[in-house]
Amino acid sequence: MKSIRPINSFSGNSGSDQNIILDSIADGVFTVDKDWRITSFNRAAEKITGVSRNEALGQLCKDVLKADICERNCCLRSTMKTGEQIINKKVYIINAEGRKLPISISTALLRNKNGKLLGAVETFRDISIEEDLRKVISQKYNFADIISKNHKMLQLFDMIPDIAAGGSTVLIEGESGTGKELIARALHNLSSRKKFPFVAVNCSAIPDTLLESELFGYKAGAFTDAKKDKPGRFKMAENGTLFLDEIGEVTPSMQVKLLRVLQEKTYEPLGGTQSIQHNVRIIAATNKNLEEMVKQERFREDLLYRINVFKIILPPLRERMEDIPLLIDHYVNRFNTLQKKNIEGIDEGAMSVLMSYQYPGNVRELANIIERAFILCKTGIIEKKHLPENLFASQTKESNAEGESLRDVEYKYLLNILKQNNWNCPRTARELGIHKSTLYRKIKSLGLQLP
């Protein structure tokens, strides 16, 4: 390995001064010598790449940055060759955790006081939040965009590529706000149909009388004012995916029609005389228990079997409380970017309240709570006073003790999760992402009694 040139050789400033300056910059900065070995690496670069300064110094920059352009279109190589700066080029890196991050990089030559070439400098900025917002707008989600470390969700992530690759009908069951459409879009974007449309229809939002024409379209003259043919959602989703949200709300007569469409793979537009073949993958979603509805004769059994080729059950947020800190972090970042604020996060008291709430509205409700807190909290950190009243009402009701400490919340949370895992400590530790000895220590310190 080559010797590391200290950063103070680049100018008259002392090395520690240089490091202080570099570490105070929010953008990642590193310098390389003429052999592409890293000579300095600031704190933001450590944070973005997940590689510590000690591990990075002296290494080839491509091994540290791990960008998609490193081997064929290296920006530093181009700058060293032409002497021209590159500004804000968007590339992807894989950080040490295996996360694919979009970054914006700029490069420039590095010379000493006499103008002698020493190497080059690269600055880079994590633009994943901007990309995330772009995805919100374009809705090009994939399953890497679903934030969770819950074991049920992780099992689901393992299955999603296989489900996406197969073309069968999928039923997604989950409470409102659990991300059913997000999963459906991820399935579509991972499938071979991704170049074709993803069409979402909320069956409960359209009156039954209109749903048929909305789904199958109509021919000119089918009814008064039907002056020309109108394609339905099936036609619009041809070769792609049709997402039928709230399928449990469909009336029995419409259920019969849907059953036929799924069985025969054909449909007839309103007023049409010929059946049209379709090549559409159906993903249905519901927040109801369809089996229960079948028992109550409110949903056709044969339609259930037809759509229930593969069932995905999304757990409600209250069953994956370990995701709350991750989701809060995500939404704080998102709203900071959207509202051009600089909220650092939430304090312990507010976290304790959020961790003990039941979230009937699931992730959507949590996002709304954070958005509301952003209105009240101008700067600094989100506190209890920035949270809505109803959260405290629920907390008081649940705990019957105002000002519950973090210890109490931890106790309840751990008790809950142990119960869910049938008091199996190794499994619980795995679910929490901690070592089992840490869990035993925690159980002991909280005074939890295992059966």
């Binding site: 091994d63 081997e71 295996g98 694919k100 393992d158």
Partner: protein, 130 residues
Amino acid sequence: MRLALSVFKNCISTVFDSADQLLIVETDEVTNLKKIPLKFVSADPLERVAQLKDNDIDVLICGAISRQMQALITSQGIVVHPFIRGEVDSIVSAYKNNQLEQAIFSLPGCRRHGMGAGFRGQRGKRYRWR
């Protein structure tokens, strides 16, 4: 057993997701190594995985790889050794001698992946060189 390495020149390619060369190494006996270079036909993750599957790959050794891509590949029953760096011959030899866990073969900051995440949960699935 068919081993695949994503390569650039004679080294492991730094990023699997954007690599365009694959080297398939197959063996029938201890001494007979057959190396087959292959080009990735597409950058699309699903097509990449399909290509690995079509070529009956059992084990993949690669550089940095996104979690999503790794999940796709492992879902097809392929064992992945991620975040590896080095020259192809020394990597093949290290794999053969079960020495891939050595620090010199791990990308900086990624040792926990090199022999951590990549190998965790794959006990019993690791192919021993025959």
